[in-house]
Amino acid sequence: MDFSLIHNLAIGFGTAMSLQNLFYCFMGVLLGTLIGVLPGIGPLATIAMLLPVTFSLPPVSALIMLAGIYYGAQYGGSTTSILVNLPGEAASVITCIDGYQMARQGRAGPALAISAMGSFFAGCVATVIIALFAPPLAEVALKFGPAEYFALMVLGLVGATVLAHGSLIKAIAMTILGLLLGLVGTDVNSGMARYTFGLSELSDGIGFVIVAMGIFGLAEIISNLEQGESASEVFVNKVTGLMPTWKDLKSSSGAILRGTAIGSALGILPGGGALLSSFAAYTLEKKIGDPSGFGKGEIRGVAAPESANNAGAQTSFIPLLTLGIPSNPVMALMIGAMMIQGIAPGPQVMTERPQLFWGMIVSMWIGNLMLVILNLPMIGMWVKLLTVPYRILYPAILLFCAVGVYSLSNQPFDVMLMALFGLFGWVWRKMECEPAPMILGFILGPLMEENLRRAMLLSRGDPSVFATKPICAVLLGISIVLLLITLAPAVRKTREEAFVEE
């Protein structure tokens, strides 16, 4: 194993370090970062558009570039989450919570820097993991059937309540609200359209981007404007340094390590793994150590999820490269690109086309390096952007949101829906009902129901399957324990109010 690994890495370096591939790697990550920064317009649309360009490229270069766009977008996505509270995709939602608060306190620079550093570390580690353990990890991932996914989602949802820093019962209620909203659309298991009222635009559900732009972006803008004249000082003009302090680095180091571990583990699960990683990392950080600063600009709340989601982004290539199964729509596109090039994605890619497999892995590491080199200097530029008077900034933000949402499926309906969610988000803020648990419920809800019903279908209606399958039982057990831990102190009124007073 040792010799072959070195041999394989040599092949990888040989392939990835060619001038052409370095160039395409750079183009990919650059483009990905830019796309990620534009809220709403995600890597999917970009890759789709660039697909014809890749037809004429050699397959390795094409895939290196496409992959670069994908994980580059993760880096860019955290930029908007931190700067303007706009999550570009599901994984960046968590970064908004503490990252944006840090920006408001004049600490956008350290937030962005830690995010880049954490992502780089996570990317490197994840790449090593792929190199060493890709095939066995893929086998492990296959052991996750519907019952196990259901249990994982339940665990995720129980943890959702930890995301809130206010009233626990309202957080649970918001989670359930999110679950219900996620059910709008066509039900996978029966083919029936639920809560669509005949509107074909809703038949595939409400898009995540629409909800996120509305609740996080629009509601934030409106709230800021309502605060009157002082709104022009949304961002503290005195920026306290562009780089994290030693204290920051020390406290984040543990967070980065833990985030990387969680992200790498969850990323290998096709279908829903990587989504959970950033949020699971945040939850873990909050539970370990001092939870008081979370939600108000705690740097660990940025470091952990960012590392997790980058690790998850890298490891989610494992099902693609080893089994030919895409973990998300972006990878499905890459499979398409591979097929056009005559490469059949599947188990034999590793053996029949080692340059492709190992070249991609090494270029991921190179790409991460390029990204951190690209992003760190840009922090200064981003921070300067925040000093632009808010009255000029917010219409621009609004434009990007609207364009981003519209570009999803070219329907004005989506923009209207975004405005509605902007309204709801604003109302919920007034009621102190937090958006983060709701978003989580929104993402996880449909997955949870789908897997629950599928597990029951497969077991022909036997619910004991949840207790008898080992992984599933363990995950459900942890969920119950976590639930008890969370609820127990809250049962006593005094603690409940302590939550509310925060």
């Binding site: 014809p52 037809f55 895409p326």
Partner: protein
């Protein structure tokens, strides 16, 4: 006076002729009624690129996903018939959905002018190797011996993977449970894991795992064998004569488009399909450019498919509200 009238008529016709001759004079929109990334989308982009090269007018792919393809199809049905809005219609939008959904907001026959069939991709019956069957006959026997024990996965209710399974059940008189997934990839993942035992998946997607031995291929669903797997029998040969199902897609225009535009498009598309690199791509998908590809043949094909699926869907009892 007569000469004046003739002259006026010719003058009036001139812009029409000019239009037809200088078509295309502005960018063309190719609507793909599915999200980016599937084989249909990828092929649409390939063709779009080829047409762009020939005509020096951009052919832009516009993804309009939703409602199993109905949203995109409806959009084109209601677009002006000037030749600048094309649809990559598929078996789903023009044969399956009208029956499956009960009604769709467009008429698959009357609202469209078919231009050219692009590809007809077979589905392949694959089983997890843990299932002790090595042929279609053995599968049928196994299923009859244990009714309701087998699970078959599909990418969604109403997909060709699902309907192939239903047709199989009807023709072979066996009981199997359909497990729908959100996308064929998710179904494939569970098939590899053994949660479901068989699947009627798209040939191109299943091929790598078959070749790697992770899946066992039993037969293809079309009447003709696939050039990619010439040794694999068809289901019709292997035990259910008359079994014929495939995923096809092709270019269509709104009804009422000028016949010469239709003819020009057809000629160009056929040329693009037969270009060496397109042929290769189609072969990678397990198929080849359709022979004798004329708008009339395509139109007749759509009609026969619509009739066929009307029966398949009804017999299976599958329904989407």
């Amino acid at each position: 006076m007569k000469r004046l009238i003739v002259f006026a008529l010719v003058l009036a016709m001139a812009p029409l002729l000019a239009c037809a001759q200088t078509y295309p004079s502005k960018p063309i929109r190719l609507v793909v009624p599915y999200p980016s990334g599937g084989p249909l989308d990828i092929t649409a982009r390939s063709i779009g690129q080829k047409l762009t090269e020939t005509w020096h007018q951009p052919v832009v792919v516009d993804n309009r996903p939703g409602a199993g393809g109905n949203i995109g199809a409806d959009f084109v049905a209601k677009s002006p018939a000037d030749g600048y809005t094309l649809l990559m219609g598929a078996v789903a939008t023009h044969a399956i959905n009208p029956v499956l959904y009960g009604k769709v907001p467009y008429d698959p026959i009357k609202d469209f002018a078919p231009v050219a069939l692009v590809a007809q991709v077979p589905n392949i019956l694959v089983v997890n190797p843990s299932l002790p069957v090595k042929s279609v006959k053995e599968l049928i026997e196994f299923a009859r011996a244990k009714p309701g024990a087998l699970n078959f996965g599909s990418g969604s209710t109403g997909s060709t993977g699902h309907l192939a399974g239903e047709l199989f059940k009807t023709m072979a008189h066996v009981e199997m449970v359909h497990i729908p997934y959100k996308g064929a990839a998710a179904a494939m993942a569970d098939l590899l894991a053994g949660q479901v035992q068989l699947m009627f998946d798209n040939l191109a997607s299943a091929l790598p795992n078959v070749k790697a031995g992770k899946l066992r291929a039993l037969a293809v669903t079309t009447l003709r064998r696939s050039p990619a797997l010439p040794d694999l029998p068809t289901i019709a040969e292997a035990g259910l004569p008359g079994f014929d199902l495939s995923t096809w897609f092709g270019i269509m225009l709104p009804a009422g488009t000028a016949p010469d535009i239709v003819a020009r498009l057809n000629a160009e598309i056929v040329r693009a399909l037969n270009a060496k690199d397109m042929r290769e791509r189609l072969e990678n998908m397990g198929t080849e450019p359709p022979p004798e590809n004329t708008p009339e043949k395509f139109s007749a094909f759509i009609r026969s498919e619509a009739a066929k699926y009307a029966k398949v869907v009804k017999d299976s009892g599958a329904k989407v509200e």
